[in-house]
């Protein structure tokens, strides 16, 4: 039971990292980034290619891949998303959705649909005795790193002026502009940062999950449910809901395996019936 809960938290760590980026991007740009899962997949493939073709280790891939894909995100935002933003939101939905399919198929064409092997970094190959049970060291590392990362983002958001601007612009972009904040200037780095977080999650996933072109689209549907449960655009809500959904689906998987795929969506429906704006969303944000 405890071990299942731990599995859930580790799974939740991936949801939280992806949902965090998605929530900030949605809040500031009003764009539901359907390509988010594709960047998670590219993160995993990036570290695979670096190791396989260039012998670059996991520890180097961990900073390199997110930075490179973050820059790709910045370019995408400048070239396309920024220009589509003043139009109907549907244009950016279609653009990011199409982009996700293109990226997925390009990787599929090169590597096929079968999973690529990625070894655990040797330093984290063993297990750790957690008292009540032993647990793979790598999974403990993943959980620790993502908690620290989410915590760091939280500190930046709540304790710095940049964070204050991002919070304000996420809550009410138009009003922030009317108060003299150049929201457009912050949108590009925030988008790049959100993509970098997704890529980082992808690198973390490579040694413990199947590296294949569909890994992103499999995960992203659950992440959308996470963002909705947490409250659209709510940063804190998306992280909390990420870990909560991880827990619920792991425990559900263990006790009621027949419902394992649907449980998250039952949870989402229940939360929306109870609080239409999500757990941490505000009513006006839902409009």
């Amino acid at each position: 039971m405890l071990q299942q809960a731990f599995n859930g938290l580790v799974g939740g760590a991936f949801y939280a990292l992806l949902a965090l980026g998605l929530a900030v991007i949605f809040g500031m740009l009003g764009v539901v980034n359907f390509a988010h899962g594709a960047f998670y997949m590219l993160g995993a493939f990036g570290s695979y290619v670096l190791l396989d073709s260039f012998g670059v280790s996991f520890w180097l891939a961990l900073p390199i891949v997110p930075v490179v894909l973050g820059v790709v995100g910045v370019v995408l935002e400048r070239l396309f998303i920024h220009r589509l933003a003043p139009l109907d939101p549907l244009y950016n939905f279609l653009f990011t959705f199409g982009l996700a399919l293109i990226l997925q198929d390009l990787v599929k064409r090169q590597y096929g649909v079968q999973s690529q092997p990625y070894p655990r970094p040797s330093a984290l190959g063993g297990s750790i005795d957690l008292g009540l049970f032993t647990y793979p060291a790598y999974q403990v590392f993943v959980l620790g790193v993502s908690v620290v990362l989410c915590g760091a983002v939280w500190v930046i958001l709540t304790r710095t002026r940049v964070g204050m601007i991002v919070r304000a612009a996420t809550e009410r972009p138009e009003l922030s502009r009317a108060l003299g904040i150049d929201v457009a200037r912050w949108v590009t780095p925030v988008f790049g940062f959100g993509i970098a977080l997704a890529a980082f999650a992808g690198v973390l996933a490579a040694p413990m999950r199947a590296v294949n072109p569909l890994m992103g689209s499999d995960l992203i549907i659950t992440v959308f449910a996470v963002v909705v449960i947490g409250g659209l655009g709510s940063v804190f809500g998306s992280v909390a809901a990420g870990f909560a959904v991880g827990l619920v689906s792991a425990l559900g998987n263990y006790y009621v395996p027949s419902l394992s795929q649907t449980l998250v969506f039952i949870l989402m429906a229940a939360v929306l019936l109870w609080r239409p704006a999500g757990l941490f969303g505000r009513e006006e944000a839902a409009l």
Partner: protein
């Protein structure tokens, strides 16, 4: 200070403002009155650059700002107090105050804000929307004063507030006017408007249909209230 020439605005096919021209001189308080849907809020939003689909020119301090983005207009010295007060729930009271960058020649210090609004100091760590309606209105006003804005665009600051707070808002408006700040005010409470403002414009169906001074507003108060449906 502010000169609007032939301003029109649309919501899709529907025209919300029709060829509105008016001017506000430095240190003046000018009100806009009119029924719901007359175009008052659209006018203020257009001045801030928040409404897409406008034509006509807006000049502020002898500069044509019609094509500027909202944040650039704010930095020229336009202070916007929206009709819903625009308090951020995810920001504390103090963060709400310090969010907008300073712009005018005479920005208020945080100490001065807290001296004028002691209640905001007591509650500075609270989330902005945990304040009462009156306190939120004070916060919205204090926020634009802190930036040193030269022209305040206030969208019905007295709506739904108790007479005591309305009186307090009147005192603040007279105080900032004395300091040379200019105000364009949406106000349905014509009695209150006549005590703070210099001139009044009546809007109907997107047009300015009448312009009045204080004596005229006082003389026609009952008629105006009846017309406005209050």
């Amino acid at each position: 200070m502010l000169r609007i020439d032939g301003l029109s605005a649309w919501y899709g096919e529907a025209q919300a403002l029709r060829d509105v021209s008016l001017h506000v001189d430095k240190g003046e308080i000018v009100t806009l009155v009119g029924r719901n849907g007359a175009g008052k809020t659209t006018l203020l939003r257009s001045l801030m650059g928040l409404h897409h689909g406008t034509s006509g020119t807006v000049r502020f301090m002898d500069e044509d700002i019609s094509a500027l983005n909202p944040h650039k207009r704010a930095r020229r010295g336009l202070g916007y107090v929206p009709d819903d007060r625009g308090i951020f729930a995810t920001l504390s009271v103090e963060e709400n105050l310090t969010l907008p960058p300073g712009m005018g020649p005479d920005p208020w210090s945080l100490e001065r804000v807290y001296e004028t609004f002691p209640r905001l100091k007591e509650r500075r760590r609270f989330p902005g929307t945990k304040l009462s309606g009156g306190e939120q209105q004070m916060l919205a006003l204090a926020r634009v004063l802190r930036t040193g804005a030269r022209l305040l665009l206030c969208d019905e600051p007295t709506e739904g507030l108790s007479p005591l707070i309305v009186q307090q808002i009147g005192e603040i408006l007279r105080e900032v006017k004395a300091a040379g700040v200019t105000v364009l005010l949406i106000e349905q409470n014509v009695h209150f408007a006549a005590t703070v403002a210099d001139r009044h414009h009546l809007l109907a169906e997107g047009r300015i249909v009448e312009s009045m001074d204080n004596d005229e507003v006082r003389a026609r108060e009952d008629e105006l209230l009846q017309y406005l449906g209050i």
